[in-house]
């Protein structure tokens, strides 16, 4: 018992570190994806009125009055910009509708309904109020709905996003597709290399291992940029093709700023994550097994497929899971060499984090990605068993 506590004590620093630097921040961030009280906090009068409203009937004078009161106060407190930004996410153009109405709100007189509609006709539209109702809710499925191409509407219904705005499902699917392809390429390229590594005499295999590790130690940015230099229209590879007469000078291959570029660069970058676990497992496999298979009459292929390969499965599993999961989160490489059809879901998350500042939507998309990866991991576990996976 004491010993167990002592052992636990040793892992405590790591646990505390993980909790503080990883788990809590991730949870807090995910929390943002469903909880947004910007509107409710700064618009205390109209929030309860909007919550009580059914979302379909004609907005009443009382609703206009509450809103007017809030607008006057929010302008005085200089919080109107935050509210306007929140509303703009639900109703494009809502930002200037809010800020410009707030500027004049103090001078409006009852009946407010007529006064506000006279000021801006948009106040007479049901959609404007439905957008407000969505913005006023503290707990909202709106962001999660958006991240799977659904639209949560002010009357409480959820429909499919209109066709021109559907993007997320396409990107989630593409992320899986690209990750799967990269994983397959890594396996096809990495397996023979790992085999060679584990069967060469130590000195030569060490040299070869350095060749695998050198790029691994180089920054992702450098490696990605190098691929641009190699693959671009006037790049090394195309120049070689032209020089050898494979293609004409004016119809060079487009190998970068598209999906090909993403696949090539990501495969190269993730290759060590496949080779290293494979190598670690292969090194422990005694040569005697394959020799025994041969002496019992198996030809090369049978000996490999029935005797050698099954023993490497643990390494294959580790490499596949490692490469696939890392690939689903990639965004720098696709951003640089992906063009338009090589972008993945992480690029959109990055966009909402850095550009549109729509952190709640980024959080919701991150959550969906997390669930997706967990699901695939679970599926993998059901099919081949995680406990059979070995990293070395």
């Amino acid at each position: 018992m004491v010993r167990r506590i002592r052992a636990l004590g040793l892992t405590l620093p790591l646990l505390a570190f993980l909790l503080a630097a990883f788990i809590i921040p991730v949870l807090l961030f995910l929390w943002q994806g469903v909880h947004d009280d910007t509107y409710a906090r700064y618009m205390p009068h109209s929030t309860p009125v909007l919550e009580a409203w059914d979302g379909v009937s004609e907005p009443t004078e009382a609703m206009y009055e509450a809103l007017q009161k809030d607008l006057v106060q929010a302008r005085k407190d200089k919080t109107i910009g935050k509210v306007a930004t929140r509303v703009n996410r639900e109703s494009p153009g809502g930002r200037s509708l809010f800020t410009s109405t707030a500027r004049k709100a103090a001078r409006l007189e009852a009946p407010y309904k007529q006064a506000m509609i006279d000021l801006k006709p948009a106040w007479g539209r049901l959609e404007t109020w439905q957008a407000l109702r969505v913005a006023a809710a503290r707990y909202t499925p709106a962001y999660l709905a958006t991240s799977v191409d659904l639209k949560y509407r002010g009357d409480g219904s959820i429909r499919r996003q209109e066709e021109k705005r559907r993007i997320h499902l396409t990107l989630f699917w593409r992320t899986i597709e690209i990750s799967a392809l990269v994983t397959i390429f890594c396996l096809l390229l990495g397996y023979p290399v790992a085999y060679l590594l584990s069967n060469l005499p130590a000195r030569r295999s060490n040299l070869l291992l350095i060749l695998v590790l050198l790029p691994f130690w180089t920054s992702i940015l450098v490696r990605t940029t190098a691929w641009i230099a190699i693959l671009q229209g006037n790049g090394v590879l195309n120049d070689l093709f032209v020089a050898f007469g494979v293609i004409g000078d004016d119809n060079r291959f487009s190998m970068v700023y598209n999906r090909t570029g993403t696949l090539v660069a990501m495969t190269h970058i993730l290759l060590p994550f496949m080779i290293l676990p494979l190598y670690a497992v292969m090194r422990t496999i005694p040569k005697a097994y394959v020799q025994a298979a041969h002496s019992l009459g198996a030809n090369g292929w049978v000996a490999f497929w029935r005797v050698y390969f099954p023993q490497t499965l643990a390494g294959v599993g580790a490499g596949v899971v490692l490469v696939f999961i890392l690939a689903t989160g990639y965004y720098i490489t696709p951003a640089l060499v992906g063009g338009q059809d090589g972008q993945m879901i992480s690029n959109l998350i990055d966009f909402h984090m850095r550009r549109s500042l729509n952190w709640p939507l980024a959080a919701a998309m991150g959550f969906v990605l997390l669930v997706l990866v967990m699901f695939l991991y679970w599926l993998y576990d059901r099919v081949s068993g995680i406990d059979r996976m070995r990293l070395g």
Partner: protein, 375 residues
């Protein structure tokens, strides 16, 4: 009743926000230890643009005040500013910001309000407010330069070259790939003008759903051939590598690559989209007084004119525009015809509508991203 029950919820959230901010702070902590008290951190876009600011503003200001300026690069947007403000650990002071982002940042309370009375009057005594271009002074932002999104081509590869925005969208007349900034900004405006909309009606058309459809339909016609760039240095690079035959770009970058690096790049000014680059101060900046002093110093017309001798962006002050002369290192290179505001270049011009973009940026970005992802 509801207000009473909103309160604990509010406190709950604030607690969360504060702890979230703490983790953000942990991330920025290392960056923060670099700056000493009294050092002003000025953040801009890097490359020849930052260089022009360093020469025109940083160096003389440092010599005058004895304070050091730490110059940092960023790639636009509000994310770093938002993180720093939320974390309560503001390491940036002055930021060079795009107008629409600055407006949103001001709305959301991430930027300090700047009293325009700090701005020095013109040499002839004209008050600053009348000397600045219209819209160049707003509650949180002080205008600095007029930059322009134009399109450019390589004269050596394309002769005769394109002359209008119609040529940019005409794949039959000028086959080959096009470089464009990965953003609906400027792209939609240019597409509409290429589709026959008059430059001064672009935003009225773009505010309607049909107008947006029309712009995207025009972009659709060249989509297959577009290479999208993000960092502004990438555009002249794409042209120089021959990766594209034409590319949209900031005019200063093209000027730098052609006049200084000797590349044969030429600018087409038709349907250029003009925007104003602004100074802003991050909310809670540690060196607020120094930041204000720096912005006032950089807003002197004579200093603005110096910047325009380093890069082909025009000052936002009328008096400064009148002082533009020759390139700092090449006394034969008249900078005036290279300015986006030079009369010959102003024939068909779109002044970026900041309010429009502040309103529709999210929506159009969403549409733009979805359109890109259609593949």
């Amino acid at each position: 009743m509801v207000a009473a029950d909103a309160k604990p919820c509010l406190r709950f959230w604030e607690g969360r926000m504060r702890s979230f901010a703490f983790f953000l702070a942990a991330g920025t902590w290392f960056a923060a230890t670099d700056a000493l008290a009294g050092d002003l951190t000025v953040v801009s876009w890097g490359g020849p643009y930052t260089k022009s600011q360093v020469e025109a503003y940083h160096k003389p200001w440092m010599a005058r005040t004895g304070h050091r300026i730490l110059s940092e690069d960023y790639s636009g947007g509000l994310s770093e500013i938002k993180s720093q403000v939320l974390a309560g650990n503001v390491t940036w002071d002055v930021v060079d910001i795009e107008a629409a982002e600055g407006l949103l940042g001001c709305d959301e309370g991430f930027l300090e309000e700047i009293d325009p009375s700090i701005l020095p009057p013109a040499p002839d005594g004209t008050p600053a407010e009348q000397d600045f271009l219209e819209g160049a002074i707003s509650p949180c932002m002080i205008g600095q330069v007029v930059a322009s999104m134009v399109f450019a081509y390589d004269r050596e590869r394309l002769s005769p070259g394109p002359t209008t925005i119609h040529d940019f969208f005409d794949l039959e007349k000028f086959p080959g790939r096009r470089g464009m900034r990965r953003s609906p900004k400027a792209a939609l405006e240019m597409a509409l003008v290429a589709d026959g909309v008059l430059p001064d009606q672009v935003y009225a058309v773009l505010a309607t759903p049909e107008g947006v459809d029309r712009a995207f339909a025009r972009l659709d016609s060249i989509k297959e051939q577009v290479v999208w760039w993000e960092a502004s240095s990438h555009a002249p690079q794409l042209l120089a590598d021959g990766e594209v035959v034409m590319s949209t770009a900031y005019n200063g970058r093209i000027f730098d690559a052609s006049a200084l690096e000797g590349r044969s790049l030429a600018i087409v000014w038709d349907a250029q989209v003009l925007e104003i680059g602004h100074w802003a101060i991050v909310k809670g900046a540690q060196n607020l007084d120094l930041a204000l002093d720096f912005i006032a110093f950089a807003s002197k017309p004579e200093n603005m004119a110096v910047q325009s001798s380093w890069i082909s962006y025009a000052p936002v002050r009328h008096t400064a525009a009148g002082m533009i002369g020759f390139h700092h290192s090449n006394p034969e290179l008249d900078m005036r015809p290279h300015m986006p505001t030079w009369p010959d270049n102003l024939k068909t011009v779109i002044w970026q509508d900041v309010e429009f973009w502040a309103d529709y940026l999210d929506e159009l970005n969403e549409r733009f991203n979805a359109w890109l992802a259609e593949g």
